[in-house]
């Protein structure tokens, strides 16, 4: 255990701090402030986003250094500035291409994705294939140099805004369930794609249905080869689960709640002076710290090439749950103010707590539900018996 910041790191911290002070007003914050893409470019240029991605693919090209990454996260958190762009392209597609993409695919897609010029969506789930993803039936049939896709995806986040999709399709209908799947990438403007937004419980349309009718995609846009889709999807899911359980977000939220409880009052008394609320806040603070340090532990293990075993498998479950609990607590602390929504007078923080409280429930379901996570933890982490074979219904 060594969390000391040597002189090199102190210098690095000073550098990050100078950056956050100098450029704070260029950061996108709600309706005010700068544009997210400009911010992203600025961050990549300084090495605060896409930090370890090779220069050849549009990243900053630094060697992985947990401490520096942590310093960046800490300083951005302290300054209340957003980190770089995230989303399914940057968090899931880029690491997947780096791992299993062809050189041509890496060169073509990674840099513009990092710059926010290509927004991606993830076409995995189907009406009949959610938790049981490998049951997907959207078909891609070979025709000359192309695949021709027919079928439907559902719950596709940001499909209406996306430029490209990474998509799982069945290329070998006769192969066993997990072996007949391929991973394709294609533009959303390809003829035959229809996107129908789905309004969620938040009142916004965060996800969509996507229909494919004779959509032609060149065979060269298969990632890692035909029939390898399940393997690629698992690589991607690993990154998705890491992203969804991200402890930095919990830290940011906790900080906002502490501020809220120190500034908001009821009956002329600060929320912080209410012992029941304060106790709940402290319980959550301990959880936030635990997940933060747990993340450091995993990072260290990763860099040393050690397998952290079950410790890694719990992150999605615990991280998403914690974020949801934080939003739920903020609403309780706000009390009746916590009911307000949609531009209501008196609303706090633009209604973000209310939105998060709902949306985060979606994140508990998405990317592998809490129950599926528990299956994985008990089976792969604790070596308990796997699910019995599917029942015939």
């Amino acid at each position: 255990m060594d969390l000391s910041y040597g002189p090199e790191y102190q210098a690095f911290r000073d550098e990050v701090r100078a950056f956050t002070a100098k450029y704070a007003d260029r950061a996108p914050r709600g309706a005010l402030g700068g544009d997210m893409r400009d911010w992203q470019l600025l961050l990549i240029e300084h090495g605060y986003a896409a930090r370890t991605i090779p220069k050849a693919y549009g990243g900053f090209g630094a060697a992985p250094d947990v401490l520096k990454s942590r310093i960046i996260a800490e300083e951005f958190l302290a300054a209340g500035l957003p980190m770089g762009m995230s989303g399914q392209g940057i968090s899931m597609l880029v690491p997947t291409l780096l791992e299993v993409g062809s050189e041509e695919q890496k060169r073509r897609y990674i840099a513009p994705t990092l710059r926010g010029e290509i927004i991606w969506c993830q076409g995995y789930s189907e009406p009949g294939a959610g938790s049981d993803l490998a049951a997907l039936t959207t078909r891609a049939i070979e025709d000359g140099d192309d695949f021709v896709i027919n079928g439907q995806k559902i719950w596709t986040s940001t499909a209406a805004q996306a430029d490209m999709m990474f998509c799982l399709v069945r290329t070998e209908p006769d192969a066993p369930k997990h072996e007949g799947i391929s991973y394709l990438i294609f533009p959303m403007t390809t003829p035959g794609i229809e996107v129908r937004p789905l309004v969620t419980m938040t009142g916004r349309a965060e996800f969509n249905e996507v229909f494919f009718t004779d959509v032609r995609v060149p065979k060269t846009d298969v990632v890692a080869g035909r029939g390898q889709g399940w393997m690629v999807a698992n690589a991607t899911l690993k990154h998705e689960r890491g992203m969804l359980g991200d402890p930095n977000q919990a830290g940011t939220r906790l900080k906002a709640i502490v501020e809220l409880m120190q500034t908001e009052d009821v009956d002329g008394r600060r929320l912080m002076d209410n012992p029941a609320l304060r106790d709940r806040l402290l319980k959550l603070q301990a959880r936030v710290h635990a997940m933060e340090f747990h993340g450091l532990r995993l990072l260290t293990a990763g860099l040393k090439g050690e397998d952290p075993g079950v410790a890694r498998l719990i992150v999605k479950l615990m991280g998403c749950e914690l974020n949801h609990q934080l939003a739920a607590f903020a609403i309780d602390a706000l009390g009746e103010l916590g009911m307000l929504y949609n531009n209501s007078p008196h609303i706090r923080n633009g209604g973000n707590w209310q939105w998060s409280y709902m949306f985060d429930l979606g994140l508990i379901i998405g990317g592998g539900t809490a129950q599926i996570q528990k299956n994985i933890i008990s089976e792969r982490g604790l070596g308990m018996p796997r699910e019995p074979k599917p029942a015939k219904v």
Partner: protein, 360 residues
């Protein structure tokens, strides 16, 4: 930067684990009287555990609180009926923080070897005074009452905090000192009550207030680590049992309800490990965070420990409830750890104060 254990630390933990496996099986735990098993104490003393925090110049290993936490985890894992938290952690910290050179020379070497056992009486500072407890110091003599004294049985000396946060060493045989054991649910640990009637005491007078805070923080981290070890063992036992026990023609570990209970336990407990490591490390490296992190480690691990203790018992069904299986030793150990040096609400309050969120 590295957030993890060194190979030395892993080795120390493993070798302590192996030793306890050998000298402290459940049958031995059952036979321990007053939370003491001298043979087990001797075995861990041979590994240096009793002197883990005592500097090398005084015959100890001179290690840090993280190392002590790793040892505490192992003691919890094996529900070892030995003094440790007070005698090997809090008392040495009292001497190192507030003792004179002569006092260090006099006590530390024997504490390090485990030949001298020190109880610690400061519950009133850590958890608040119950039953009108409180110790007054006047002209070098102590009067009053101290409750919930840790590592009580077999203690040769006591480190006692008075009502003003002064620290004193009292001989267990001193005139006017009345000792009463307080049986608890946890038969593996000994606590007691001290009644003082103008008892001779030796003050630890170099900055006792700061030392007192350090003792409380360190003790809390140890209790958290103990719960981590006990809880981890309970989960293992539950998982092993679930893989063997059959009902409805299949092992119960194939029922999703049971699998999910096990998954929830490990998902809750595993992050406690990182929290405890950090709290122990902060104790030595980031003193301004020490109080808050020790409090969080203690309170959070207690909450999780309570959940694990009941859930692992449930997974064992009726067998879990029996004395025969002995699972209750771990259940009770976790119950003890939760209340000692302040229950979760009290300890969280200390974390709020430490952050300036509220006054004392």
């Amino acid at each position: 930067m590295e957030f993890g254990l060194t190979s030395d630390q892993k080795m120390m933990q493993e070798s302590l684990g192996r030793t306890l496996e050998r000298v402290c099986p459940l049958e031995r735990v059952r036979k321990a009287a007053d939370g003491a098993a001298p043979d087990v104490l001797k075995a861990i003393a041979e590994l240096g555990v009793t002197g883990i925090l005592v500097p090398e110049e005084f015959g100890g290993l001179g290690l840090r609180l993280l190392d002590a936490a790793l040892a505490a985890e192992m003691l919890g894992r094996h529900v070892a009926p030995v003094p440790f938290i007070a005698s090997s952690v809090m008392a040495p910290l009292a001497l190192l923080g507030a003792g004179s050179q002569a006092q260090k020379e006099r006590y530390l070497p024997n504490l390090a070897t485990g030949e001298l056992i020190a109880g610690v009486a400061l519950s009133e500072h850590a958890a608040g005074a119950r039953a009108k407890a409180g110790v007054a110091a006047k002209n070098g003599k102590l009067s009053g009452k101290a409750l919930f004294v840790l590592d009580f049985a077999g203690a040769d000396i006591f480190v006692v905090a008075d009502a003003f946060g002064g620290l004193h060493i009292v001989d267990a045989e001193a005139k006017g000192l009345e000792r009463t054991a307080l049986p608890t649910i946890d038969a593996t640990r000994a606590i007691g009550e001290l009644n003082f009637d103008a008892v001779d005491a030796e003050p630890l007078s170099e900055n006792p207030q700061a030392a007192l805070d350090r003792m409380v923080d360190a003790g809390r981290v140890m209790l958290a680590a103990d719960t981590l070890g006990a809880g981890g063992r309970m989960i293992e036992k539950a998982v092993d049992y679930a893989k063997e026990r059959k009902q409805f023609g299949r092992v119960i570990g194939s029922f999703q309800a049971v699998k999910h209970l096990c998954a929830e336990m490990i998902a809750e407990l595993e992050p406690c490990r990182a929290l405890i490591w950090y709290a122990a490390y902060a104790f030595d490296e980031f003193p301004d965070q020490a109080r808050r992190m020790a409090a969080h480690a203690k309170a959070h691990t207690s909450e999780v420990g309570t959940f694990v203790a009941r859930t692992a018992t449930e997974v064992h069904g009726g067998m879990g409830f029996t004395d025969l299986l002995g699972l209750h030793y771990w259940f009770k150990r976790i119950g003890f750890d939760r209340q000692a040096l302040g229950g979760p609400e009290k300890v969280r309050h200390d974390a709020a104060v430490a952050q300036g969120w509220v006054g004392n």
